[in-house]
Symmetry: D2
Subunit: 147 residues, 4 copies
């Protein structure tokens, strides 16, 4: 199976839905159905201020991995920061560098937009993901505080 | 001296500038003058997609502390996430709960906007700040990766 | 292959040596040959104050994994603390629960000695090991400082 | 007040006791009285395998700070490792570099014994102590796991 990463399209909804829900479950979280629907609509809207959706697809053009990316302003940048909020690969097709392909496309999008930083957050104990991230990015000394 | 937190105003530029520069220096970073100027203009613009500026002022209404806050979309929320990107208090007036007053006003802004999360990042070894943050927020298990 | 854990014996030297050296290499460290020889002699000596050696062996009784354990005094305990200083499994036989078998035998030794704590240190980014440790022990909030 | 660090002596018991108990309370822990008594006797015994006690004293020779140090074998060293298990300064006399004086004397003891490493563990969120440790030692990437 060769993997390609492209923008999310309307026809992807049946494949996108279980991937996004799998991602939410990974975090032992829940999101109401209507919020998931809103997120879907925003991803497709293409409007400034909303996330861009990327999907990794196999030969059949069906998504097996997703990435949701937000370009936002920073007080430290004249252009944009590129925030990778969500990244998920179907557990049934792990170990095929799909996560890497998605991140590399995020980098390409960031470069195309002139973003001066690309970043994401991951749980300290997400060892599998961190093994990949250590190869593609730098762990910063920044922790996240939340109300 | 009693401390009040209010929105940034055009007259605050002479006090805001050394505070933002002091903050940048704290991170041993540099930002070109024209980017600082752009950031100033964006903070004052009041346009969606740009940061809100908050300042802590004393009895003379002159800023001694700053907070820059970005409301942005999240795929997990129908409303907003509230991201506190910058927080700085003049080192000469430390120990007067000015940082706390600024964060509490950030929370008030977040509540007024219906934001479903308020968060910020801090360096693991920023002990002074973390002593305050531990009282006002929860340290998440999230680390930040960067390209 | 069934795995058994037993005390280190004199006949194990040819198998122990590459395992201990593999462990040292894992940490990108070097230890002079004469120190390795001293460590070997101390492990076999059985004297108080020196480490106990444990080995995981297959059906042929040849070590494929090692654990070096020190019982030492603590100001917090009337008995002993059990410190697992070294743990290593031959990379060629990973994924067979050999690390787990070694740690479980360390626990058995600790219990037999009435030790009131068993502990070890691991590098934050040793994801593979931490995946196992998270199942068998608790990550404490303690960091290690060194001169 | 000038501070001097010396070995613990029998006459120090009335001052040592509240310091060790203050240290235990700092960790929200409890140790039975008889274990504290055993620890006291071991500290004074001077026997190999038990901790050395150091005290920081003012002009009146009364302890205001304590350090308990264990020299133990390591499989990585032909000599000793020096483990600083306990360090505590009377909260009423903080900010006088007493912790630093104690650690420096630990280093002197380690050097006198030819120890090839001196180390200790501290809680990630012990910001006050870490501010000092960052000046005197190196934070390793090692975390502590415990049964």
């Amino acid at each position: 199976m060769s993997i390609r990463v492209r923008r999310l399209e309307a026809k992807d909804k049946p494949a996108w839905l279980p991937l996004f829900k799998g991602y939410i479950e990974f975090y032992k979280a829940t999101i109401p159905e209507e919020v998931i629907e809103t997120t879907w609509e925003r991803l497709l809207s293409g409007k400034e201020g909303f996330h861009i959706g990327l999907v990794a697809v196999g030969d059949d053009d069906v998504p097996v991995g997703i990435a949701h990316v937000l370009f936002h302003r920073s007080t430290w940048s004249p252009t944009w920061y590129c925030y990778l909020e969500d990244l998920f690969v179907d557990p049934k097709v792990r170990g095929k560098d799909i996560g890497r392909a998605l991140i590399e496309q995020v980098y390409a999008e960031a470069d195309a937009s002139g973003a001066t930083r690309t970043y994401w957050a991951t749980q300290e104990f997400n060892y599998r993901a961190r093994g990949l991230y250590d190869k593609l990015a730098t762990k910063s000394p920044f922790l996240q505080y939340r109300r």
